[in-house]
Symmetry: C2
Subunit: 113 residues, 2 copies
């Protein structure tokens, strides 16, 4: 594999876990797919539809989100929101995230945690 | 898949990308495998040998680390250190990491970035 592909793969791995946290955080408030994508983009996270939409459907299948169809602006949209189980997962993922961040932070600055 | 397995898988995904950054950061100073593992543990990151050792060998194959065998305390040990290419990758991974962290941070606090 050429060097740049290694880097791309590493960046993708790094993003993958964080994207789930971002989606769960944003869906503490109800959103339909496109509005979710825009909200995440406003927070600096650009996810293409081909990644985001399968992800939210998968999170719903796993019971971490619930959804309902509703009409808005004369169009039917599927609104997603985090479930109680999703909140519990999110809490534990954030604990892990904080711990990983603290590790990187101290390694960067050469301190012992 | 039962709920707990989903969570474990998500936590693992989250860790995977960060672990590479942690290893590259720590190997700005030369370490042999076991000493690297201890140093990361001191920074709050516990990685088992079965994960860490294949990872550093893979990073060397990718040209991000270099290594040499040397005797220390009357035993031959393989010392690893980051390469110029590794430093370049690390810099870009840290940029991505900072961006992802900023996203999560603002989402958590409900601010717009």
């Amino acid at each position: 594999m050429p060097p740049d592909e290694h880097l791309d793969k590493m960046r993708l791995e790094l993003r993958r876990g964080v994207v789930i946290i971002a989606v769960l955080l944003q869906l503490r408030t109800e959103h339909y797919g496109y509005a979710l994508r825009q909200a995440l983009e406003a927070h600096g996270l650009d996810i293409d539809e081909g990644t985001l939409y399968p992800l939210i459907r998968r999170l719903e299948t796993q019971g971490l989100l619930t959804s309902e169809w509703r009409e808005e602006d004369r169009r039917n949209k599927r609104f997603y929101v985090i479930s109680a189980e999703g909140r519990s997962h999110l809490k534990q993922l954030l604990t892990e995230f904080d711990s990983l961040f603290a590790t990187i932070d101290t390694l960067r600055n050469g301190r012992t945690r």
